[in-house]
């Protein structure tokens, strides 16, 4: 399959089952809602080292949030509900509670829930106040700028993490430009996040390492500087490879995002130095979700 001169490899992205939740962060204005969300989703690129993966899903207008203030919605993914809860509570306590004028609410209603502000309330040192409104419990925690309002819990669901595609280009700058175009096309899509910095990862990994302590290490088959040294997946004209990793609430969300991203890459085309689009997988043995590039782009 060739789109605008870009070869779409006959391969697939391999993704895993995860647990996910959505929360809504509000503040006096979007600037401060984003500050809280950026802190909260910082150091959350990969479960391998961060414990969870998180990102800003989209910006919400004042009329779309529970307390009628500007906000952002954040998606957070973990390998288990317990992991998700552990990291969520830590980040609410350290990143949202501390951010001026912020409040945090559940962004997902589900039968199964995890703690959101349930334990953060104890920061109130006995002065915290509970309010049950429309069946949802909120905690009002007195803080120096007024009151921090946090919903007690949020729902979570099964989700998919690790959808991906690789952009193979003639130069580093061209690969990055193509990835930026892909991210721009995917940013507005609901139910997905691209958890790496700016949505792009340059250090795609394989499972395992020659060093026993490492669960993952560099994917040498796609490292251009090792072309002459290892069994490479790169042709001579490819000098740089970058990856976009996508986590989504459902398989269809990831498919839609991958299609939008790859379309944007292909729109730039071979004239912009984009040679191929590929995907990362582990031979199909680890993840139960397989996203075949050619099926998605058909």
């Amino acid at each position: 399959m060739i789109i605008n001169g870009v070869t779409i490899d006959e391969t697939y992205a391999e993704a895993f089952g995860m647990k996910a939740t959505r929360i809504v962060i509000t503040a006096l204005n979007h600037r401060w809602a984003r500050h809280a969300a950026a802190a909260m989703t910082g150091f959350a690129t990969s479960v391998i080292g961060c414990g969870i993966e998180a990102g800003i899903e989209n910006e919400l207008a004042a009329g779309e949030t529970p307390d009628g203030r500007p906000g952002v919605s954040v998606l957070m993914f973990g390998m288990s509900a317990r992991d998700l809860e552990k990291h969520l509570e830590k980040r609410v306590g350290q990143c949202i509670l501390t951010s001026p004028t912020s409040a945090v609410f559940a962004g997902m209603s589900a039968e199964k829930t995890i703690n959101l502000g349930k334990n953060v309330r104890y920061f109130g040192d006995g002065y915290q106040i509970s309010k049950l409104i429309d069946g949802r419990r909120f905690w009002r925690v007195p803080v120096m700028d007024g009151e921090f309002l946090a919903e007690e819990s949020t729902g979570y669901c099964s989700a998919v993490g690790g959808g991906n595609f690789l952009v193979l280009a003639e130069s580093q700058a061209q690969a990055l430009t193509a990835c930026e175009a892909a991210i721009d096309a995917m940013l507005d899509l609901p139910n997905v996040i691209m958890p790496f910095p700016g949505g792009v990862v340059r250090s795609g990994s394989k499972v395992g390492s020659k060093y026993k302590a490492l669960p993952a290490s560099t994917n040498q088959a796609f490292c251009p500087t090792l072309k002459g040294l290892t069994q490479t997946a790169l042709s001579d004209d490819i000098e740089s490879v970058m990856e976009i990793v996508i986590n989504g609430l459902e398989e269809t969300d990831i498919r839609r995002a991958m299609r939008a991203g790859i379309n944007a890459v292909c729109t730039l085309g071979a004239d912009s130095g984009i040679r191929r689009v590929s995907a990362g997988n582990y031979g199909g043995n680890l993840g139960k979700f397989h996203f075949h590039l050619r099926e998605i782009m058909a």
Partner: protein, 271 residues
Amino acid sequence: MSALTLTLREQPGHGLDVSLLTPDRLRGLSPAAISALPLCNGNRRLQLSSLFDISGNDAQQLVILNSSRHLHGIGSGMTSGHIRIEGDCGNHLGQGMINGTIETSGNSGHWTASGMRDGIITVAGNCGNFAGGALPGDRQGMRGGTLLVHGNCGDRTGDHLRRGYILVAGNAGAYCGSRMVAGTIAVLGKVGPEPGYAMKRGTLLLCEVPGMLPATFNDCGIHNLGFLHLLTRSIAALDSRFAGQNTGKYRVHRYAGDLAVDGQGELLVWV
């Protein structure tokens, strides 16, 4: 199916316990069985049919017409369904109600919604004393749900309130929110003396500073409280004067108290 309608033939001159008449208890009973239901009248028992004309068959939609202030305990402990009352009703309306809805076009007596756990009770007229309050000997009044009063409430509204909303569109009497444990009382009119007396926690939301605030309430200043946006939007959904009034307003003067007991309660006055 049409609503099961009980029409009181004549106003009784004495109290009548009609706590048996709830949608869940009447569901599935034949017309003959409903007619033969015993109602306590002092130390005597009367058959329902001796006092009421009965029509309709849908017990989930119970209608009581020509109601009287002597009919006590309407909707007590009901778990589901809807009761519509045309006229006044007596004491203990919806006492211990677990769920469902009750609406009355007239006034209700004392201890309306006492011990209520969930559901909505709407009183178009006025309520007596201890609306949503605790019965003598009980340690908790309302434990959930919403009591909406379009008119005025008597004294001790929300006494020992544990959870839920008491919304009074008119005025409330003395000791409003006395001994509150938690929950929310909102009053659009005036409140009598000593509001929040001995309240431990909970919120008393008022439109104007009460004339006589207990000395054991401390002024905490004027603040924007975000939870009020959620609260006012929630109660604005009810068909009442609360819709529109103060919706979205979250700037209030906060008084904390009652410091004689715990001081974790609050009296908020919209500014």
